[in-house]
Amino acid sequence: MSMLETKALTREFGGIIAVNRVDFNVERNMITGLIGPNGAGKTTLFNNITGLDVPSSGKVFFEGRDITGLPSNKVCRLGIARTFQNIRLFKDLSVIDNVMMGRHFHTGSLRNRTLQAVLSYFQVEKEECEEYEAAMKWLEFFGLENLRNDSAGSLPYGYQRELEIARALATEPKLLFLDEPAAGMNPQETDSLMETIRRIRDLGVTVVLIEHDMKLVMSICDNITVLNYGQKIAQGTPSVIQSDPAVIEAYLGTDDDEEDF
């Protein structure tokens, strides 16, 4: 059984069908790519799976459990973390605080937290130290530990991308969604990102990524799904996808398509 499955997932915005009856599968411990021209519905599909948006119809199953329409904070608690296409960091908080936020739900309920904060100083201090250590582990994973006290918004762009992934990983997910992680990166940065994604997979985290950089997608993905105009037009290994006529048509176009490859 797949780790994550969508069954005939559909999302309509008024008359526009952004995602049209898509069956999308993610296999455990693999890197799955989701590609397609701009506006194909990739991010909408991500949003519907991770609870940022509610599908018009269809179902989402995670490890056999129906998670359709769960709010994103609950989806996260089940072990699905994500990053965003336009980076969403807590810009005014420090780097370490950003990652510690990823540890948020590992540390008890709101009621305990509120009472504890006021009543038991030493307990709070002790747990803060533990969380700090757990967060530092992820900063070291990305080599960002020396920047821990800088505010997140002041980091260079490439580091912000990495920090966002670090924050997502700090939630200890089983499944990690990356929305265009290489957007705006130069070739060296992209190479290092590829290496990072492989290291994340080696930690036992299943990775799904949306990406336009074909070199990256084709070299690290085990399985690729292609969307076009909201519909799934192909699925398979990179070599299968590269020779699929429907994919070539979607990307290169037949007449006046503007998409460039």
Binding site: R88, K91, L93, D97, E127, E128, L147
Partner: protein
């Protein structure tokens, strides 16, 4: 003169409670609320009614007032906290007006526009804290304020505070790391409301009468001003802001020019101050307080005592710059 100065300090403390509450709501959680006056009124009337009609002592009315304000904070929060920015401001403003209108018209309970007079003085183990002996009252206020400040500081230093700040920075991202955004907003709103309610209790205990005219929209605006002026997300700063605002309000009387400078002038001065602040120092006088992880950091560095982190507290851009060059990835 000294007496008058004490009076300013007493009002500063009353406003400081509202500023603390407003700071938790606006400065930390990033919700633009305009109903400080509503919670202020609820606190005042709870104390006034319980003391005059039911002969409760002032001390026992305070927890009731806090709970009632917090409860109303939850009631208004649940439907409106999904709104953002201006929309939330309008909804909360409406709430404050509802509270005032209910008080104004519920004659049986609140005595309508006449208000409630002859509230007994606060007594402390048989000792009357008379508003005429201003030192005693000020002392009471300062002690309560210190307790409140201490507890709020603890709250925002904890993970709860970090979650609130995360919500302020980016709600969607906060939800994506597992924060139940609505719940945290409601709790923050309720705590802020409860703290603002204490201001009402003190007001009733000091003036010894309450009337709907004291809980107008201008109060909410002044409280918001104290927070913006002092610095959002900094409890010490908003209390400083409260002092400055009160000081300016009473400046004409203090320097004996109240016959020359009309009372309305203070609103012009507030407006001017806010405009100038927004242009030259938008973060407020003291600015936002940074989260302090130094203890956890020291603990971590000591535990990982391989000197890798020793003496590198103030590393920053030079080193990260070096790292960028090394990896060729600026």
């Amino acid at each position: 003169m000294l007496n008058f100065f004490l009076l300013i300090l007493i009002y500063t403390c009353i406003y400081a409670f509202m500023s603390l509450g407003q700071n938790l709501i606006t400065g930390y959680t990033g919700m633009l609320s305009l109903c400080a006056a509503g919670f202020f009124a609820i606190g005042s009337y709870t104390t006034a009614i319980l003391m005059t009609k039911f002969a409760w002592s002032w001390w026992s009315t305070v927890p009731v007032a806090i709970l009632l304000s917090a409860l109303l904070g939850v009631l208004i929060g649940l439907p409106t906290l999904r709104l953002k920015g201006d929309y939330l401001a309008i909804a909360t403003l409406g709430f404050a007006e509802i509270v005032r209108n209910v008080i104004n018209n519920w004659d049986a309970l609140t005595n309508g526009p006449m208000g409630i007079q002859r509230i007994p003085m606060i007594s402390f183990f048989g000792l009357k804290v008379s508003p005429y002996s201003k030192y005693g009252f000020l002392l009471l206020e300062v002690v309560l304020l210190a307790i409140c400040w201490f507890l709020l500081e603890r709250l925002v230093k904890s993970r709860m505070g970090r979650a609130l700040e995360a919500i302020r920075e980016d709600e969607i991202a906060a939800a994506s790391v597992g924060v139940n955004v609505t719940k945290y907003k409601v709790v923050s709103f309720a705590i802020g409301a409860g703290v603002s309610g204490i201001a009402g209790c003190l007001q009733a205990g000091f003036v010894l009468s309450v009337s709907p005219g004291s809980y107008v929209f201008m109060v909410s605006i002044m409280v918001l001003c104290t927070v913006v002026l002092g610095g959002m997300g900094n409890f010490l700063a908003v209390m400083l802001g409260a002092f400055i605002i009160q000081f300016i309000s009473y400046l004409p009387q203090l320097i004996g020019l109240s016959s020359v400078i009309p009372a309305q002038a203070k609103q012009i001065i507030f407006g001017l101050i806010l405009v100038i602040m927004m242009i030259y120092r938008p973060q407020g006088i003291l600015g936002r307080k940074k989260r302090d992880n130094s203890r956890a950091q020291a603990f971590y560095d000591q535990a990982n005592g391989d000197t890798r982190n020793a003496g590198r507290k103030d590393i920053g851009l030079e080193e990260s710059g070096a790292k960028c060059e090394e990896e060729g990835r600026v």
